[in-house]
């Protein structure tokens, strides 16, 4: 049995009065690298542990392929889990750690050795096979538990923030490695993280979670460029939010908006939300233009400049307490503008997203 598709069908998990996972439904394709992304406490681990069988959901079903696995004990689910805390077996050598699941399955010694060797090589641990975990670095330990989870050829690979205990350099290095390995093996993977960069870089699809619910399920590109909710727009990447008032249509699928400091035309992505509006646009989608050049745009004063080397960040004050962040690049031979310069901010209609404002 190789990898399988996973279906999560309106799964709910309650702890007393509080609700950790709230009616989540997902269909994950065979071989897909699927990421659960959300801030701390949003229910990612809970959902993952329900799939692994360590927690029993309060409602809903989990299916592997067409088989409902709710009554299957965790040791019979054939999932490979990588824990945030590594959960390496400290008393076993690297080889014994990796062979653990194969031995539990009663494989023959020769076969175990062959498989363990394969994965030692894949995770580049061959020279460390006989070390004890305490003699390994964090990154090496993480590769051991990865090999340990993959060598059993699980139907589904489950990873709970596997990189969060590592330093930045190791994290950047390992995330590419994990993704390459997953592609090679082709195992369906559910990956949990609160690091959006990790999620965007590694995933085939991302589910953004919040308070136990799904906000949006989409490809990294769509999650970033077409956030479905205001939460996703603010959670993924950076966004400027400004109150907007609808001032009528502007051609098919376009609306006129009045914002602090001026007017915009925005391309509608779906239905126009009823009631009050908020317009969102990303710092890198804004062009700084001369104030009197005509055309659409918000007019404001340059209030602050942050020089970051390759990029430069400008804060433009539109008055009334509204600041807009603008990202520009630093080109040789172009001088930085002076604070106090007036600008008109130009944004293409397609770069503007409209949401109903968040009710606090």
């Amino acid at each position: 049995m190789a990898s399988t598709s996973v279906r999560i069908d309106t799964v709910t998990k309650r702890y007393g009065d509080s609700i950790a996972v709230d009616g989540v439904s997902l269909a994950i394709a065979k071989g897909e690298f699927f990421t659960l992304l959300g801030s701390s406490g949003c229910g990612k681990t809970t959902l993952l542990r329900i799939v692994a069988g360590f927690l029993k959901q309060t409602g809903g079903r989990v299916l592997f392929g067409d088989t409902c696995i709710d009554d299957l004990a965790p040791q019979h689910r054939n999932t490979g889990m990588v824990f945030q805390s590594y959960a390496i077996f400290p008393h076993l050598s690297v080889v014994d750690n990796i062979a653990y699941g194969l031995r539990a399955r009663g494989l023959k010694a020769a076969e175990i050795k062959r498989k363990v060797d394969t994965y030692l090589e894949l995770t580049r641990l061959s020279h460390l096979g006989h070390r004890k975990p305490r003699e390994l670095s964090g990154g090496q330990q993480q590769r051991v538990v990865l090999a340990r989870a993959m060598v059993i050829e699980p139907d589904v690979l489950l990873m709970d923030e596997p990189l969060s205990n590592l330093d930045t350099e190791m994290r950047i290095h390992l995330r590419t490695e994990i993704r390459a390995l997953q592609r090679k093996i082709g195992v369906t993977t559910i990956y949990v993280t609160h690091d959006q960069e990790e999620a965007l870089l590694m995933s085939d699809r991302i589910a953004v979670m919040r308070g136990g619910r799904l906000e949006q399920v989409a490809s990294p590109h769509d999650i970033y460029n077409r956030p479905a909710t205001r939460f996703v727009a603010s959670f993924i990447g950076e966004n400027n939010f400004l109150p907007a008032v609808h001032r009528g249509e502007a051609g098919p699928g376009h609306v006129r908006l009045e914002l602090p400091g001026g007017q915009f035309t925005a391309k509608l992505r779906g239905d126009l939300p009823a009631g009050a509006l908020e317009a969102a646009f990303r710092p890198q989608d804004i062009e700084l233009c001369p104030p009197d050049g005509g055309g659409d745009g918000l007019v404001g004063t340059l209030a602050d400049i942050q020089f970051l080397g390759g990029t430069v960040r400008y804060a433009v004050d539109l008055g009334g307490g509204h600041l807009v962040q603008v990202a520009g690049s630093n080109r040789s031979g172009v001088a930085l503008p002076a604070i106090g310069t007036r600008y008109r901010l130009g944004v293409s209609p397609a770069a503007i997203a409209l949401f109903a404002p968040e009710v606090a």
């Binding site: 692994a52 008393h91 399955r105 050829e153």
Partner: protein, 563 residues
């Protein structure tokens, strides 16, 4: 999946555990063991104690007669008397001693700690008879002083018992207060001193209140140990009778004891110890401040005078506490003529115990080892259930295990005899009943040791094993047990050293062929063969102390682990 052939899913094995689940089956087994060895015997004692009057309609007949006959209720009062005073004295001596050892730069601190441990683990009845050798009617020191014309107070009766209990049991207070002091942060003292408080005032107002749980726990443990001890009052009591002696007398009386009365007395004893333990729990919870010291109280520099005075106090106390032990070791190498020792070196005593010791020594080692292994096995499983499978059954187990602390050895002995003297479970007089008694009495050591370690081990490691396809049983054996190895080992060492010197339950349960070294010593003492008793006592002290040496040196445990 091209390069790698498919692996079959994890195996599913058959068997009972597969159908019911591994842990439910283990829980049931453990529960039956504890119920059968602890709860049932206790219930039976209560039943028997009420049975005599059942015919006449007065189920409390035994209790009524107990409280109306002076001979009986005086015994209860006596028991309180010789438990209350050791409790008071142990606090008065143990608290300052612990404070000085932990706070002052006294000399020989390591020696003092070792001496306290040695006192603590040495069998109380050995200490008592050693005092008799020194201060008894024909005691070495009694005669020496009377030749100088100085009459010494009698070691017999209540004062002697109180004296011996105090010296024997003050380590409870010492060890608990020592660990209490280690959990107080230096900043507490610094703040008080900074506000202009003197050292004594600081202790009284800032430190002592934080020590209340340690002191009360220590005090009540002294009380319980004194209240339930059987050996010392037999040896020193003479006509001064306490409750355990009365129970023992009524139960094993060769001229027809009264097991019903013995049961009623056992119930009384159990009520007192249970009440004391509940009081201790309540006090600890009520006064606990749950502080974790970032920088524990430091050793302070003191003026030389204070340093000398503190050292003198501690060494005087330790000297008295060690005297009986030193006396035993020394007199085991002396020629003896009955109770009279002669000052010339000999190995006669050891030669004499050689042939006589063979069976009891073998018995002792065998029973202790089997009971220790059982404790380690069952105790680890119980700890797992308590920590990892919380729920009503688990807390019931927890309570039952803690209850076994409250059941005195003699009460357990009576209960087991009452429960298992008839077929199909006619176990009285067998080795099995001794082993089972030791097992259930010392189970809390293993449970406690594994519980505290298990609470520190992340559940993820075990979950990872389950996730990789190992069932709960395999996970327990391959992952949990190895991770708990040091805790299991230290629990086992404590069990061993506490079991090997067990006297009161053994006195009730042994049958001549199942006598242990402790019983043999006891018999020799009662017969006045002090030389032989000393040689046996030295062997027993060694057997008790050796595992602790391993515990402290190899496992790096602190003495506080003992209480």
């Amino acid at each position: 999946m091209s390069a790698l052939t498919d692996t079959a899913g994890p195996p599913r094995r058959g068997g009972l555990a597969r159908h019911l689940g591994f842990w439910p089956v283990v829980t049931a087994i453990v529960f039956v063991l504890i119920a059968g060895l602890l709860l049932l015997p206790v219930a039976n004692i209560v039943g028997v104690s009420l049975s005599a009057g059942a015919k006449t309609g007065g189920v409390f007949e035994n209790y009524v007669s107990f409280f109306s006959e002076r001979f009986y209720y005086q015994t209860l009062l006596n028991s309180f008397w010789v438990s209350f005073w050791p409790m008071v004295f142990a606090v008065c001596l143990g608290v300052p001693a612990a404070y000085f050892v932990n706070r002052y730069e006294i000399w020989g601190r390591g020696f003092v700690r070792a001496a306290v441990v040695l006192t603590f683990v040495s069998p109380p009845f050995i200490g008592s008879y050693s005092w008799v050798v020194l201060f008894g009617r024909s005691g070495v020191l009694t005669q020496f002083f009377s030749s100088l014309g100085i009459p010494l107070p009698s070691i017999y009766g209540a004062p002697g018992i109180i004296f011996v209990f105090t010296l024997q049991f003050f380590p409870f207070v010492f060890l608990l207060v020592s660990s209490g002091l280690k959990s107080i942060d230096q900043s507490v003292e610094d703040a008080a001193r900074n506000l202009g408080s003197s050292e004594f005032r600081t202790f009284r107002t800032a430190i002592a209140p934080l020590l209340v749980p340690s002191i009360t726990t220590g005090a009540l443990l002294v009380f319980i140990a004194s209240f339930t001890d059987l050996g010392t009052p037999i040896i020193l009591g003479e006509r001064f009778r306490v409750l355990p002696v009365l129970i023992y007398g009524e139960f094993v009386n060769e001229f027809g004891g009264r097991p019903v009365l013995a049961s009623a007395l056992s119930v009384l004893l159990l009520l007192v110890t249970t009440a004391a333990l509940l009081l201790q729990r309540w006090l600890s919870a009520r006064f606990s401040h749950a502080t974790a010291a970032i920088r524990p109280l430091q050793v302070q520099e003191q003026p030389l005078g204070k340093r000398i005075a503190a050292t003198a106090f501690v060494f005087l106390l330790i000297g008295f506490a060690l005297l009986p032990l030193a006396n035993i070791v020394v007199s085991s190498f002396l020629k003896s003529n009955g109770p009279v020792l002669v000052a010339s070196f000999t190995l006669d005593n050891y030669a004499r115990i050689m042939d006589r010791l063979a069976l009891p020594l073998w018995n002792t080692l065998f029973y202790t080892t089997v009971a220790t292994l059982l404790c380690a096995l069952v105790g680890t499983a119980v700890a797992y259930i308590i920590v990892r499978r919380p729920g009503p059954v688990s807390s019931l187990l927890d309570t039952a295990v803690m209850f076994s602390y409250a059941v005195p050895g003699i009460v357990l002995g009576v209960g087991l005899v009452v429960t298992y003297h008839e077929p199909p479970f006619a176990l009285t007089g067998t080795a099995a009943i001794l082993i089972l008694a030791y097992f259930i009495r010392r189970l809390p050591f293993s449970v406690r040791s594994s519980v505290s370690m298990l609470q520190q081990i992340s559940r993820d490691t075990e979950d990872a094993s389950i996730n990789l396809g190992a069932g709960p049983g395999r996970t327990f054996l391959r992952i949990t047990v190895p991770l708990l190895a040091t805790a299991i080992l230290s629990g086992a060492l404590l069990t061993w050293s506490n079991t090997i010197r067990e006297l009161s339950a053994t006195l009730i349960l042994q049958s001549g062929t199942t006598a242990t070294v402790a019983i043999e010593i006891f018999n020799e003492v009662v017969n006045g063969n002090f030389g032989v008793a000393s040689a046996l006592g030295t062997v027993l002290i060694l057997l008790t102390f050796l595992p602790l040496v391993v515990l402290f040196t190899l496992l790096g445990k602190k003495e506080e682990a003992l209480v």
